[in-house]
Structure formats: structure tokens, C-alpha cells
Amino acid sequence: MSNEVPKPEEPVTDRQQPDWYRRITGVGTSIGQAIVIPLLALVTALIVGAIIIAVTDIDTLRVWGDDASEAFRLTITGIGKAYKALFVGSLGSVRAITETLFAATPLIFAGLAVAVGFQAGLFNIGVNGQMHIGGMAALWVGFSVALPAIIHIPLALLAAVVAGALWGAIAGFLKARTGAHEVITTIMLNFIALFLVDYMLKTSLFQEPGRNDPISQQAEPSAQFPTLLGGYRLQIGILLALAAVWLVWWLMYRSTIGFEFRAVGFNPDGGRYAGINVAWIYVSVMAVSGALGGIAGANQTLGLEPYRGITNFAGTIGFDAIALALLGRSHPGGVLLAGLLFGGLRAGGREMQGAAGVPIDLVLVLQALVIVLIAAPELVRRIYRIKTPEQELGTTISTGWGG
């Protein structure tokens, strides 16, 4: 083959400065930029949410034709009632605050899982599956042995960490070995985990004796997370979450492997030239991410009533975590704050559903709006007429499917 044929010009990409990375992690942006955009995104999302509440209120919509001012008043009170319930349900009382913290616990773990992935340039949508697998492993330790709580709970958590890490590492391995994009593989692994849990819940290994539906045995009392305050659901999970925040911060910013994670995320080619084994980093990032997801799952099986495994016990937490990590700029501290905020939305959302009749799925819509606005800061700037900093243009994490 002759060498005279010139190589086709590489398509124009700027791998040296992947801008999405800066947007997501906030690296290189000023503190003001890193905080202003998320705040404005949140405010905008709440305004759009209010509009959605208004236009979907069928009873009020019927009034518009007869009496516009009355309809306007009803709309405003409807929105006010919903958002007031959201506030009261999240911060209005001691119970509300403990509920917020309680709801924030798995979100913080799951958010950390996504954030670790982001920092290394990986998009882990599979937290849902990792929660299922980790939660089931913890549950199995929880009901199959009887031990003092001081050993039992750490052992269950260890099982969750190992199982979640292994499940997460599958996607990392596939990416490192075959180039399969982690977005597709993790989503598919979510579905597989969901069916696997359903299957396991019906086997004699897990199923509550005498039942035919997919429900597991109850974890031993020694494996159930002890509550912190009498009469409230808040349990030690929140303390573990705080510890995890510190641990992830230490891992990402003070340890060698964390530096390698971030180096690969910032520029995989640069990392490779610097002698980092990028394939190994992909596997270990997904393992760490999966381990955090696994603990989030353990929190759902051992941390709340009925202390059993049921179908889809992870709910939408794994997906909320994506919005949460983006909002928290993938920094452990940011994830903590965003987790508390989303915990509040969740606790308040339940109140909103009960008191104002607005389905809690609105929270999912708000979250999607937050992600759009953070991923496209142009939009926020345009709405609020903020000056564009010079270095913002161009984004790529996705270049084909590795084929």
C-alpha cells in the first residue's frame, strides 16, 4: 500500500478541552458561574413547572370560558397551593425535615455514583440496576444470617458494595474491551437487573414462605438500619451518606487513583500518554460508581419499611441521580447540597400529591428541565441576558459507538 495517499483530515474536534466536562464538573469556571447557572436553572424549572401545573388543571381550565378572573385566581391559588405543599412537606416541621433527610439519603449515594462517573468522563445511567443488585445482596445477608448489629450491618453493606461494584464493572469492562458505549449497556443492564430481581424474589432463596408474589423475606432486626430519632423514619443512612461524601471527596481529590480518574475524564488521550491504563480506569471507575449505587440499594432494602425486597424497589432514584450530579457539578459537596434539595423535592412532592393533588412525577419534569438548562447554559444566559464568557463553545463526549 502506498503511503502517498494523504490521510483524510480528522473531523474537527477539540479533545484537548472537552467543554462538556467543564460544564458538568465546573472545572475552570469561576465560582460565580458555577453557582449562578444552577440557581437560575432551578428557578426557571420551578416557573415552567408552575405553568405545567396551570395548564393541566382540567377543572380550572373549564372555568376560563365562564369567568376569566375567577379562573385566574384559581390558577394562582392552585400553583400556590402546590408549591406551598412542596415547601411545607420538605421544611415545614421537624417531621418534614427528617423526611427530607430520609429521602435525601439514597439520592446522595446515587448522585455520588453518577458524579464519580462524570468526573472520569463516563455516563453511568445504570445506577438503577446497581441499586437493585447491591440492595438484593445486602438483603440476602440481612435475612440469611443472625449476627449482632455491629457486625451484621457492615457485613450487609460490604455485600452491597461488592455486588454493586461487580455489576457496575460489567459496563466498564465492555467499554474498555469492546468500546460498547456505557449509556446503552448500563440502560440494558438496568432492565436485566430488574428482571433478575423479579426472578430472584420468586426463588426459594429469597421469597417469603407462603407467598406467591415477588416479595422477599424480611431482614433480621439486627440488619435493619437503626433510626436516629424516636418516631421518625430518619436512620443512620444519612450519617453513612455524609461519610461517603467525605470519602469520595478524598478519593477524587487526594488519592492517586482519583487523580487518574479525573485525568482520564479531562482527556483520555492525555491520560494514555501520561502512562495511565485507561482501560483499567474505566473498569475501576464503574466499579466505584457501582459500589456507591449498591449502598444506595442497601439503603432501600435495609433502611425503610418493610425491610424486604419488592419489585422495582429502586424506583426512579437512579435517574434522579443524573440530574442531581449535574446540578451538583459532580463535586461531592455539590452532590450533597443537590441531594438535600432533591430530597426536599421528593418529601415535598409527596405532600404536594396528597394535599394539592399534583402528581409527584412533576418532580421528574423539574429535574429534566434543570438538566437541560445546565447542559445548555446558552439557554439560561439568553433568558436572563447574562454575558457569555469567551471560552464557551463546542461539546463532545459522544463520538460514535466505538465501532
Binding site: 483530515e9 468500546g179 446503552i184 432492565f191 436485566i192 433478575l196 438538566i371 445548555a376 463532545t396
Partner: protein, 425 residues
């Protein structure tokens, strides 16, 4: 003590190419399958057991067509063929045929599996193949959406959200103003979401994967929210009616093939037509050449005067239209009712089908049929009552998707500029 004469190792080891290694792997798999067929379906069945396959469906012109096979003998024959195929692939003399031989092997394996599952019973084979065609429709349409976008280098993982939202809007509009209006609304919804993706990806340069994920979360949240808030209060908005199936004259009366291929609703025929149209369009028209050039080398395309941005917008929106059509299929045919998250990953499976079909419409149809077959098999096996738990069977399409994306079925090459935004100098 005698010293051995020093021999210089002069053999040159030629490193096996990835295709060679893959062929070896597939050859081993085929041989293992042969052993498995022999052990489980051949020796595990009593001799003389027969499986009955029904080949005609109610309403066919020719009734009572059946095919009776001796399960054990079939297993023995298939085991021998599989072992032969495996040996042939292992010799690596016809690397190009590897995929075809694998396909033949897997088809034979499925047949033997069915005869084993249907041993001493009768199994409606024609019905299963008919469901295969029906279930392949949303996957194929999803794959077509994906390839419309990726041929111009825009990655669309929002197919799932487009399908879901289109299905939702189609249900409501269909219930209020009839199914044709519902279909129109579904198609337009898909197009609007396509436009949203295009604007985010092309105008605002948002990472295409994030833009897609956002649209998916937004679609799931909004449709679930509205389903609970609106549909639960107004149940009459959740029964849009359905497009019935009609038999194509003459073709529909061919025994077996007629009922499998030519007795369906409008969506199935439209999908076939769309596949052929797109294949012709992409590879034999000026539009197709321009689209592909934008996906392969946008700068070169721009240099010769093709408007890169306009081409991308147009194709992504067209892709959205197709996804909208697929969304309409989901609620305006058999099910005729919207439920939360009713797509359950079909959009992502469509994406895998696109990769499996190597970014070609005919390939997308083929891959769609494979996934449809997996789904149909899973449904019908539930009726037969095999010892395999239904949950594990339900995993099959997702597992196949991972296997496809991981390139086990052979590397396929995406458009060169896939996923990269184009910035004019």
C-alpha cells in the same frame, strides 16, 4: 553430558486478525451449541416424542396445515449440522461467511429449541411468526429513526422519549378526534421532539448524549405526570380505538406466508414500504448522497456547497417523524391504551438494531425481525409452559442488545463524524 545443538526458532507467528479471533470464538460457540442440542434436546427427550406445529391461522383460506416432527431425530440432525458448521468456521477459510453461518446455526438452534419446548404438544408456529413481524415494527422504526439521524452525524438516544411522548399524544388526540387525527398528532409530536434534539445538538452544541438523556427523562416525567393528572380523571381520553388489520388480496391467501406477511394493520405495511423507500433514498438519490456526505465528512460537504446545518435539521426532524409514527403504532393498534413508561426500552433496542443492521434500512428491518422473534418467542413460550422462568426470557432482548453493542456480532462502522457537532470556521 551432551549438549543439544542450539536451534533457532524460525517460525514466524502471524498474529490473528480480530476477525480471525472472532471466527474462532463463534466456531467454538457453534460446537458448544451442537453439544448442548445433543444433550438437552436430543438425549433429554424420550424417543418417539412428536411436536406438532400449526401453520395456519383462523381466517386463512387453507385451514389445518400442520407439520409434525420427531423431536429427537430433529435434535440429532441439527446437532450434526451445528457441529459441521462450527468446524467449518473454526477452519477460518471463509471468514466472510462467518456471520451467515452463525445466523443459520442460531435459526436451527431456535427451531430445535421450539420442537423441544413443544414436545407432545402443538405449537402455533404461524402465530408466532406473525407476532414476530408485528413486534419488529417499533424496533425497526426506532432503528430507522436512529439511522436517519446518525447518517448526518447526530446521535439520537432520545428515540425512547420520542416514542413514548408520541404514543401519549396519539392516545389523547386519537380518543378525542379519531385514530387518523391521533396518528397525525403522534407523528407531529415525534417531529417536534426531533426538532428539540436538533436545536439542542446543532444550535446549542449540547452534548448529544446528554441532550438525548434529557429528552428521555423529560418525556418519562411529563407523560407519567399527565397520565396521572389528566388521563386518570378523564378515562375516555385513554381509549383511542385501533387500526384494524386487512388482508392483501391474493398475496394474503398464499398458505403460511400469506398470513405471516400479508394480513396486518396499516403500520406493518407502511414500515415495509418505508424501509425500501429509505434504502433507495439513502443509497441511490441525491438526497441520500448528500446526507451521507454530511455524516462522513461535514467539512468536505460544506466545501462543495451542501448546507450542513440544514441537512442535519431536516434529517433529524424526519427521524422524529418516523419515531412519532412508531409511537402511534404502540397505542393505536393492538393495545390501544396508554400506560406509564409503556415503551420499556424499545427505543434503546431500536438503537441496537440500528447498529446491528449496520446503519442501513434493510439491515434495520432484518435486525428488527431478530428482536421481534426474541420477543415473540418469549411470549409464546409462556403459553407452552417451559421450565424456563418467564423473567429470564424477558431479559433476552436486552441481553441481545448488549451483545450487539459490544460488537460480538462483528464490528460495524458508524458514520465517520458521528456525534460531532459541526462548527463553521
Amino acid at each position: 553430558m551432551t549438549t543439544q545443538p542450539a536451534t533457532v526458532d524460525t517460525t514466524v507467528t502471524i498474529r490473528a486478525t480480530p476477525e480471525d479471533r472472532r471466527a474462532t470464538g463463534i466456531g467454538v460457540v457453534l460446537v458448544l451449541l451442537a453439544a448442548f442440542v445433543l444433550w438437552a434436546f436430543g438425549l433429554g427427550v424420550d424417543s418417539g416424542v412428536r411436536s406438532t406445529f400449526n401453520l395456519s391461522l383462523p381466517g386463512d383460506r387453507f385451514q389445518g396445515l400442520t407439520w409434525i416432527v420427531n423431536a429427537q431425530w430433529l435434535a440429532f440432525v441439527v446437532a450434526v449440522i451445528l457441529a459441521f458448521l462450527g468446524g467449518w468456521v473454526l477452519r477460518r477459510t471463509h471468514i466472510k461467511w462467518t456471520n451467515m453461518l452463525l445466523a443459520i446455526g442460531l435459526a436451527l438452534f431456535s427451531l430445535t429449541f421450539l420442537t423441544w419446548a413443544a414436545a407432545d404438544k402443538s405449537f402455533n408456529l404461524a402465530g408466532m411468526l406473525q407476532s414476530t413481524v408485528i413486534l419488529s415494527v417499533p424496533v425497526t422504526l426506532g432503528a430507522l429513526t436512529g439511522l436517519m439521524c446518525e447518517r448526518v452525524a447526530v446521535i439520537n438516544i432520545a428515540i425512547e422519549g420520542q416514542l413514548l411522548t408520541a404514543a401519549f399524544v396519539g392516545t389523547i388526540v386519537g380518543s378525542a378526534w379519531g385514530i387518523w387525527a391521533g396518528l397525525l398528532a403522534a407523528v407531529l409530536t415525534g417531529a417536534i421532539l426531533g426538532a428539540a434534539l436538533a436545536v439542542l445538538a446543532i444550535r446549542f452544541l449540547v452534548d448529544q448524549i446528554i441532550a438525548g438523556v434529557v429528552i428521555n427523562i423529560f418525556a418519562l416525567g411529563l407523560t407519567s405526570f399527565l397520565a396521572r393528572r389528566v388521563l386518570s380523571e378523564a378515562q375516555d381520553l385513554n381509549s383511542p380505538g385501533r387500526f384494524g388489520s386487512f388482508k392483501i388480496p391474493l398475496l394474503g391467501d398464499i398458505p403460511v406466508v400469506g398470513s405471516i406477511l400479508f394480513n396486518h394493520n396499516m403500520f406493518v405495511y407502511a414500515t415495509f414500504v418505508l424501509v425500501i423507500l429509505l434504502h433507495f433514498g439513502l443509497f441511490y438519490t441525491r438526497w441520500g448522497l448528500r446526507s451521507r456526505s454530511v455524516g462522513e465528512h461535514p467539512r468536505a460537504a460544506d466545501t462543495v456547497g451542501i448546507n450542513v446545518f440544514r441537512t442535519r435539521y431536516r434529517n433529524v426532524i424526519l427521524g422524529g417523524l418516523i419515531a412519532g409514527f412508531g409511537g402511534g403504532f404502540l397505542t393505536l393498534t393492538q393495545v390501544s391504551r396508554f400506560e406509564e413508561n409503556l415503551t420499556a426500552g424499545i427505543g434503546f433496542i431500536g438503537l441496537a438494531a440500528m447498529i446491528f443492521g449496520r446503519w442501513m434500512p434493510l439491515g434495520a428491518l432484518g435486525a428488527g425481525l431478530v428482536f421481534g422473534f426474541a420477543r415473540a418467542l418469549q411470549q409464546k413460550l409462556g403459553i407452552l409452559g417451559t421450565p424456563i422462568p418467564s423473567e429470564l426470557l424477558s431479559m433476552t432482548p436486552y441481553l441481545v442488545t448488549i451483545i450487539v453493542v459490544a460488537g460480538v456480532v462483528g464490528r460495524s462502522r458508524p458514520p465517520a463524524a458521528d456525534g460531532q457537532p459541526y462548527v463553521k470556521d
